[in-house]
Symmetry: C2
Subunit: 178 residues, 2 copies
């Protein structure tokens, strides 16, 4: 049952988070309110090294109060397309150009209250260009095989949703290529 | 590199979303701000019918502007534990008691700016108790085998992160039980 916006109230437009509260009307005439975190969307890449292993980023995630292990990812800037965004993020976070970039679908992290869609990619490591971090960023790179990633998800060592979704898509792709 | 809160500013405390902006200090002395959506956490269940198929919920997701197909899920109420929360959600959304409930790990939908952790469960359909919806909720139930779910994720028909993570965990579990 489609929900149509009748009014939008701006709540907060911060550095990362943009929150609105919309009045809506349902097809049956009922009215309600929907709080939404507006988001330009994100990109995420499984970058494969020459040895077949994938680069992951270990970083402290303040909202979770702990270090997490995730595929390289970032926000799509306003007006930017996913394709240049993933090339940029890969160079900034991992320090490499990408080759043989393949789109592996999308994942919606939080359908209940956030507009974010993450575009998933697979690529091979290209030319070294060096990383560029913000001063409040601290990332460590690690490398794992696809089999190790599956086991780490099962063991709860990896719990990030985009990393799980992308690992799954890679496993399915390999299954069909056999 | 751990990040420690030095000050918290309340931004918005709504019906679903609670946003704060914290001043933080990094271990290297750098300071920054972190916007966080505070969340009590969620629960999600793959409820299996006697024919082996799983119940999914089709509903309009306003933040995504379209219908989505997801496992039954809900918010953990303040002070509530995941176990009673999933029993309650399963009865309200699917209309069934649960048997043989098994915990299958957690998923973090949005580590970048949200504290939400979703607890994943597998269960079998128990006694029919009837659904209870809010007046602004409209849910349709569908049933799929685990093989169908995998194909629907690959085809982009299912893109919800908790549903992908739980499907993956069930597939891994089955793999080990063979």
């Amino acid at each position: 049952m489609k929900e149509t916006q009748t009014k939008r109230t701006e709540i907060y437009d911060g550095r990362v988070i943009h929150v609105v509260c919309d009045d809506i009307v349902l097809e049956n005439g009922e009215t309600s309110k929907r709080e939404v975190v507006l988001h330009n969307g994100g990109v995420c890449i499984a970058l494969q090294d020459d040895d077949g292993k994938y680069y992951l980023v270990r970083q402290y995630r303040y909202a979770q109060g702990k270090e997490m292990l995730e595929f390289c990812a970032g926000k799509i800037e306003k007006g930017e397309e996913p394709w240049p965004a993933i090339v940029r993020e890969c160079e900034e976070e991992l320090g490499y150009e990408t080759e043989d970039l393949v789109f592996l679908g999308t994942v919606v992290p939080t359908p209940g209250y956030c507009s974010e869609v993450i575009y998933l990619f697979h690529g091979h490591k290209g030319k070294r260009v060096g990383q560029h971090f913000d001063k409040d960023e601290d990332l460590a790179l690690e490398k794992y095989s696809i089999e190790e990633l599956g086991q780490m998800i099962e063991d709860g060592i990896i719990s990030d949703s985009k990393t799980i979704a992308l690992t799954y898509r890679i496993e399915r792709k390999r299954l069909h290529e056999r």
